[in-house]
């Protein structure tokens, strides 16, 4: 069983978001970078399935050399091999074009991406890769099983969920619920240093969406407190003052 996991580098979720250069650049000062949490869920689920069925797990990242510590972190968690496509990720289309190009060479049974990254939240990379490869794509999977031939998964639809079966090759974008992330073991951390990380060069690809500038939302006004003994007053305020009920 060969599995590919697309992983992205994002700021830790506790990062205070600010901008520089006249609000055109994200301020990376003192940011701690992590594997996109949804990608890490995907990786961890793939490792659990590999523990039952065997196989090889490859992680792929489009990024410059500064993403390598995160690829090593994925090795420590349990990925076997890594491929870094040596380019600055500009937009979803560009990133997905790179991944699709190299994924076609890999003969993977299935591919996981996170449903979206926690920074740019494009929610497109998985679907674009699937279309370029001509394979089924299931968006937003909170539950996933694979028996070696067929995958059974849930997907969330508006107002409910569906159970789906699909045979390889396919691509699923993973969301919360598939499993809990793991803390790498000492053995995992030791072995991460020697696992193979291949660096490849990007292919020609378009990039169609660019950020001109950022803006922070206006600061919130003060909280208006209602005494607990007089809780009913809150409903009055929501009805007559805020007019939201």
């Amino acid at each position: 069983m060969n599995v590919l996991i697309c992983i992205a580098k994002v700021p830790d979720t506790t990062t205070k978001i600010t901008f520089t250069e006249n609000n055109t650049q994200f301020n990376t000062d003192r940011v701690q970078w992590v594997i996109n949490p949804l990608d890490e869920f995907a990786l961890t689920r793939a490792i659990e399935i590999k523990e039952a069925l065997g196989g090889t797990i490859t992680v792929m990242n489009v990024g410059l050399a500064d993403t390598e510590p995160l690829i090593r972190k994925a090795f420590a968690i349990g990925a076997d091999e890594g491929i870094r496509i040596n380019a600055e990720p500009t937009d979803c289309f560009f990133v997905a074009s790179q991944i699709a190009h190299y994924a076609k060479e890999g003969n993977y049974d299935y591919i996981f991406a996170g449903r979206e990254t926690t920074d740019y939240e494009g929610a497109q990379v998985g679907g674009i890769v699937a279309e370029f490869m001509g394979i089924p794509f299931i968006a937003g999977v909170p539950k996933f099983d694979y028996d070696g031939t067929t995958a059974t998964m849930e997907r969330e639809i508006e107002g409910g969920k569906e159970v789906i079966t699909v045979n390889p090759p396919f691509l699923a974008s993973i969301q919360e619920g598939v499993t809990e992330p793991r803390i790498p073991s000492m053995r995992g951390i030791m072995s991460a240093r020697t696992k193979p990380l291949t660096v490849v060069e990007p292919v020609e690809a378009g990039s169609f969406v660019g950020v001109n500038s950022y803006e922070l939302p206006p600061a919130k006004g003060d909280c208006k407190y209602v005494d607990a003994e007089n809780s009913e007053e809150l409903i009055n305020l929501l009805h007559n003052e805020a007019k939201v009920i």
Partner: protein, 323 residues
């Protein structure tokens, strides 16, 4: 060149978020001086299809092939790209939801089209490029982005636009596309729809509970409040992790982003990852025993108190209000 909008069919009705997308599309079309064409897939009453005109659609292309009863990103992408080809549309609008995340990226690859999601404002059109405001970093910031491809895809945030309704009727045209086995890649073996519940991303009021509620059974009082207010229920991440509530209700940075008019955070501390998914709400109410809880910094109204005493009193007050 026309503006095309994908209008979701939620088991025989068109949800509000899709009506907002139709309205948004008509605004873009007006700016471009062109017409608004809606694509709808699956069985739906003709009267409902015509009523999309109320929200600004000039024409509705209705694909009702039985083979399309199951949502498959491949077959649905075939349909929408067929509609794009037949109408020559160069701007495609979705509501930012499950369908846009399944179809949008495939279209992007097929048509070399740039896609902007979580869109909050109408576009500025300048020649061949289009600039638009969206949220990034889970609502912690806005970004103004420019789409420069010839065909452009836009997914609009639910609850960000309120349609003005007219009595215009749309012209409904049946449409079809030849689907082959290669357009289908998956089998749906079970569907579980909670139809009597308000959908979380569409809800205008959301009642959310955290670890402070101590046990799954204590959601009864939140459900009661939600029922009276026509609200959806939600929860923090640890609540879903512990299995008190389904993961589909978990809001925040790694869960669902909501932007209702009113968000109740009950027994929720207000961690940065939680706030990320809810800070687009118009009004936030916090109920918490701890006066130092960070949720009060994000809240418009707060009660420092025990949820088990406060919520029943609120429920009584809502009952009185509703008469």
């Amino acid at each position: 060149m026309a503006v095309l909008v994908y209008a979701d069919n939620s088991g025989g009705s068109v949800p509000n978020s899709a009506l907002e997308a139709v309205y948004y599309a008509s605004k873009v079309a007006a700016e471009k001086g062109t017409e608004t064409i809606a694509v709808v897939i699956g069985a739906l009453d003709n009267a409902i299809l015509e009523s999309l005109g109320n929200y600004g659609a000039d024409k509705v292309l209705h694909y009702s092939d039985d083979k399309l009863s199951d949502f498959d990103s491949q077959s649905y992408t075939r349909v929408v790209s067929d509609a794009i080809n037949s109408t020559g549309a160069n701007v495609i609008i979705f509501s930012h939801n499950y369908a846009s995340k399944s179809i949008g990226p495939r279209l992007s690859a097929k048509l070399q089209a740039g896609m902007a999601v979580a869109v909050m404002g109408l576009p500025k059109i300048d020649g061949d490029s289009l600039t638009i405001r969206r949220t990034v970093y889970a609502g912690k910031a806005f970004a103004d982005v420019t789409i420069s491809s010839a065909i452009k895809i836009i997914a609009v945030t639910p609850n960000a636009f309120s349609p003005e309704v007219t009595d215009k009727k749309a012209a409904v045209e049946p449409a079809s596309v030849d689907l082959t086995d290669s357009d289908f890649g998956m089998k749906i073996t079970d569907t579980n729809k909670v139809t009597d519940k308000v959908s979380l991303t569409e809800a205008t009021v959301v009642i959310s509970g955290g670890r402070g509620l101590k046990d799954a059974s204590n959601w009864d009082m939140l459900e009661e409040m939600a029922d009276m207010l026509g609200a959806a229920t939600a929860c923090s991440k640890p609540v879903a992790d512990m299995g008190w509530r389904p993961h589909s209700e978990h809001v925040g940075q790694t869960g669902i982003t909501v932007r209702p008019n009113l968000y109740f955070a009950i027994g929720i501390s207000g961690a940065i990852q939680h706030l990320a998914g809810v800070n687009g709400s118009k009004i936030i109410v916090a109920i918490n025993t701890d006066s130092e809880a960070p949720i009060f910094k994000a809240a418009d109204y707060g009660i420092i108190g025990d949820a088990f005493e406060v919520v029943p009193r609120l429920n009584t007050a809502i009952k009185n209000l509703n008469g």
